[in-house]
Amino acid sequence: MSTPIVTPEQPAAAPTPPPTPDDQPAGREGFDTFERPSMLARATAWRPTRRHAKGAARILLAYLAALVIFGAFVSLRHVNPLSMYHTIWSSTIANRYGFGQVLVKTAPFILAALAVTVPARAGLINIGGEGQLVIGATAAGGVGLALGTHVTGLPALLLMAIAAMAAGAVWAGLAAILKLVGNVSEAISTLLLNYIGADVLAYLVYGPWKDKSGNGQPASKPIPKSDYLPTIGVLKAHAGIIIAIVAVIAVAWAMNRTKWGFALRVVGGNPEAARRAGLAVAGLTLSAMLVGGALAGLGGMVQFTGLEGQLRPGLAATYGYLGFLASWLARHKPFQVALAALLIGIIAVAGNSLELSSHLPGGAVDVLMALVLLAVLSKKQSAVAA
C-alpha cells in the first residue's frame, strides 16, 4: 500500500466544532420557536461583521480556485480558458435567450432538489430524484400518448402532471416501504431504484411504446404540440419555471408554517422523541417520501412537456443527482435551494455552449460543476454568512 498522501491545510489542533448543522437532519434552527421572526425583521436585523467579510472572502477564493483548476483542465485540451469563460458568461447570464435556456434547465433542477428537501426535513436521504423524475416523465408520456388529440391543452397538461406526480410518489414510496418494512436504508434503495427506473423507460421506448414510423431511434411518438407547456415570452422560457417557483413557495410554506412540516422536523431531529410524543413516525416518513417523489415526478413532467415532447432513454439524465446536490448545498432551505438550482442551471447551459464553441465533450462541464460544488461544500459552517 502506498504511503498516505498528507493533505494540505490540516488544522494543527482542530477546535471542537459546535454541533454541525450539516450532520443534523435539516432545520434544527427554529426548532423550539415555531413562530419564526418575519423575513423582513431578520433581514433588517442583519449587520455585516468582520467574520462575515472573512467568510465571504473565503467563499470567493474557493470559487476562484474552482475556476482556475477547470481552466487548467481545459488548457490541457488546448482550449483557451479566458475565452472559454467569456463564452460561458455571454451565453448564459449576459444574454436574454441564454438566460431563458438557463431557466428551462433550472425548472426541473428545482423540482428535483425539492424532492430531496422535503424528505431531508424528516431526516431521510432521497438520492432517487433521478429515477422518480424518469418515472414521472414516463407516466406523463404515457398519459400524453394515450390522450392523443382527444384531450389537449390545459386539461391534458393537468392529467399528465397528476400522472407524473403519482408515479414519482410511487417510486419514492417504494423506498419508504422498504425502509419501514425491510429496514433498508433509503439512501441505498433510492439509488438502486434509479437504475431500475431507467430500465423501465428503456424497455418501453425500445419495445411497446416505440415509434414504428420514426427514424429507428428508440423513442416514443411525440405528443401533440398543443400538449406542450406554454412559452412565456418575456422570459424566453416555458412555464416550467413558474411551476417550480410555485412549488418552492408551497414547500417553504408547508415546511415552516404547517403542523405537518413541524412534525417532519421533529421526526428528523429525534425519531424516538417523536414517537414518545405520540407522532405517527411511520406515516410521516411515508408522507415525506411520497411528497418528495411527487415533486420529482412533476419535474419529469415539466422536462417532458416543456422540452422533450417524446420519451427517449437518457431523458433528464443526471437531473436527479444535480437536484440532490442543490438541496444539500442549500442545507434544505427551499428558497436557497432554488438559488443553488439556478447556479447549477447556469453551469449546465454553459456546458452546451462549450460543446458548440470550444468543442469540449458534453461531460467536460461536469468537471466544472463538481469543482464549484466542492468549493461550496468545503466551506465550513463557521465561514458561512448565512
Binding site: S2, T7, I127, S185, L191, Y195, I196, L325, L329
Partner: protein, 314 residues
Amino acid sequence: MIGTLALFTPAGQHQHALIVAILIGAVAGGTSILYAALGETISERAGVVNVGMEGSMLAGCLAAFAATVKTGNPWWGVLAGAVAGGALAAVHAWMVVYRKANQLATGLVVLFLAIGITDLYGTSYVSSAVHGFKSIKIPLLGDIPVVGPVLFDHDPLVYVSYVAVPVVWWFLFRSRWGLLIRTAGEKPESLVAYGLSPAKIRTAAVIAGGALGGIGGAQLSTAVALSWAQNMTVGRGFIAVALVIFAAWEPYKVMAGAYLFGAAITLGSQLQVHGVKVNQFLLDALPYLVTILVLVALARKRKNAAPEALGQAL
C-alpha cells in the same frame, strides 16, 4: 437463483453448460465489484462512506485502459487505475475529513468529477483496441470438472483478488494498522488519547479504498470488457456500497456477495448465448433488484454490525 434458472432452461446437458457458464461469468464479472467493495469495506471500517467509489471505479477504468493502450502492458494499467482511483478518493477524504463536508453529497460530487474527467479525456479512446489481460488456466487445478473452469481459468486480476480478500481480512482484523482503522470508525476520540490522528488514519483508509476501486475499474476495462465506454461502470460502485452493508463489513462475505452480483450481471448475456429468450430490460434491472431483495432479507440482522462512528465527522 440457480433454482429460478432451471425454470427457464431446457433440461439436461444444456442446462449444466449454462449453469457453469453463469458461474464462470459470476467470478469474472463479480471481480470488479469485489475490488470496489473491499475498498469500500476499508473506507467504511474507518468511518467514511464513499459513494464516490463509483467515480473511483470509472476513473480506474479509463486510466487503466489508456495506460494499457500506451504501454501495451496491462500491469501498468492496473497501477494507473489504482492511482486514479486513489486520487479521486483523496478528494473525497480531504472534503469529508478535513472540511467536514457531508459524506453522501461529497461522494456524489466526486462521481461527477469522475464522469467529467473521463469524458474530457476518454473520448479519443472509445474505439481503441487494447491488448489487455488474457485468461490463464492454472495447471492441474484448472482441470477439475466444474470447479476448474469456474475458479481457475481467469485473468490474473481474478487470482490477485483471491489473495486480496484474505489479505484485507488479515489487515483489518489482525494487524496494528487494521486496529487503528477500525478504531477510527468506532471510537475516533480514543485515538486522540493515544496521541494518534484519526483524521490521518481515515484519510489513508479512504485513499487505499479508492485505489482498490480503481483496480476494480482496471479489471473491468482491461480484462472483461476490453474497451472503454463513457460511464461504463453503470452503478457497479453503488452496488459495491450496498454490498458492504449486507456483507456486514466483512471481507469474506463481501466476496460471496460480489459473485452473486457477478451472476446477476452475466445472466443476460449467457441466456442469450444459450438461446433462452428473456426480456433484456428485466435482465438489465436484475442486479439492482437482487441488491434490494438481499438488503431486505438481511438488513434487519446486519444493522448492528455497522461501525459506530460511520458517517460521522470527527
